[in-house]
Subunit: 288 residues, 2 copies
Amino acid sequence: MPQSSLKSTGRFDTICIVGVGLIGGSLAAAVQQRQLAARIIGVGRNLPRLQSAQQAGLIDDSVVDLSAAAAESDLIVFCTPVDKIVTGVREAAAHCRPGTLMTDGGSTKGAICAAVTGAMPADVHFVGAHPLAGSEKQGFEHANADLYQDRICVVTPHDDSDPVAVAQVSEFWRQVGMTVIEMSPEEHDNILAETSHVPHFVAAALAATLRDETRPFTSSGFRDTTRIAAGDEQLWAAIFQGNKTAMLAGLDQFETQLRELRGAIERDDPETLVESLRAAREKRESLE
Amino acid sequence: MPQSSLKSTGRFDTICIVGVGLIGGSLAAAVQQRQLAARIIGVGRNLPRLQSAQQAGLIDDSVVDLSAAAAESDLIVFCTPVDKIVTGVREAAAHCRPGTLMTDGGSTKGAICAAVTGAMPADVHFVGAHPLAGSEKQGFEHANADLYQDRICVVTPHDDSDPVAVAQVSEFWRQVGMTVIEMSPEEHDNILAETSHVPHFVAAALAATLRDETRPFTSSGFRDTTRIAAGDEQLWAAIFQGNKTAMLAGLDQFETQLRELRGAIERDDPETLVESLRAAREKRESLE
């Protein structure tokens, strides 16, 4: 079967990218650069924006109707905000052909994979993914074909995932340049709460303490520590809400560290304070 | 009196800089560049390091004995860690000539100014200062004559400060390129707790949550948010301990924001969550 043979090499006839912003646009650029598809359909709510992305050469077709695009696609990649993915997958699933693969780029996986499990037609497969790549910038104008290069992509099979579909989706992410790590949606959400969602939350809480009177007295430390608080609030509220359980557990861990450090100051215990700060410094330096 | 007339123009015969690292070395470079002194004595515990700074052209003399250097100086600037400043001021005060001015670059002011008040000989004056300038780098090798240019210096007169000494110290910091703002040591400490000390503390607590298993899943957000946690633990422990009251009050404010945001997640209240994140984003953007 020619279609299967195309898929087994990681190449697709038609790839549909839903949400052509920085993430979706960069994916389109990477797919083109690596010649992973004969045709890329871009799907979005805003036709003029899609047409601009098409004029910029990122996509071959601009389509507002996801159902129509799904019916013509072999692989559908959802690059929308996390709270829009499940609706999109369900709509696409109702209209796509047997054999169609779906994946996504959402920052939360548990709720999405659970909502999709069991809701797919026979021989249509959704395999969740989270490419750990991004940028402060927004919009396809900043699309970068190398955004995914040498970064990690977490692929999250769920209990009834089709092993062949998992292998094909993993191969797709590898072909855009990523190192694929498989884990359960729940494990993904626990880890990302710690490494991404809680840090964003903490940066926002810190930025919220800023007052007009104190602004002139900030320096690079405050700026660095709160930089990610400039992220889009709708996107991040959906991530926090979509990863509620792991977020709250991650916040518990952070608050435990905060209480330990605070306790050392309260009881005038410089040895513990220095030791805790030293451990924190070494952990931070391990990232360089 | 020639000496007074020199001071009134902001120029000094001999300036002593105690602690010739990045901060003290940059100050020496700025003093030279702006020709604010005929001679710069560098004081430190490590004679070979001082001699290297002298060979690099930053200072004219390398002296380990603060008492001896103080006896020859018109202005003494303490650029040591905050927990070493009071001891240094007292030692210098016991050996310097009448008319000698002292200031410092410490990140806390209340405890230092309180400990020094009333402990000075007649006609020897200490006026606390905090130049809001710094760098992740350490050591005089990274000294930069423009480090202080166009930055804010908080000068903190205390109750029995001599107004002429305050004016002379303020003029010195202006002459190295800074905008001087005067406020009480307590007000300084409250503001800097919010804008600098609590952010550092929060970054350290966040860095402390990192685990070996989760390290590969960090990205630029975690790195930005924890960058200042790489700071020297001895320096920062002394700052936290030296600004204990304001630190704890600033942490209370941060924890209040944290609880508000957390509450919105816990009770599934996306409107409040989005609104709080929006406010945080706008505060962060006000810094650009």
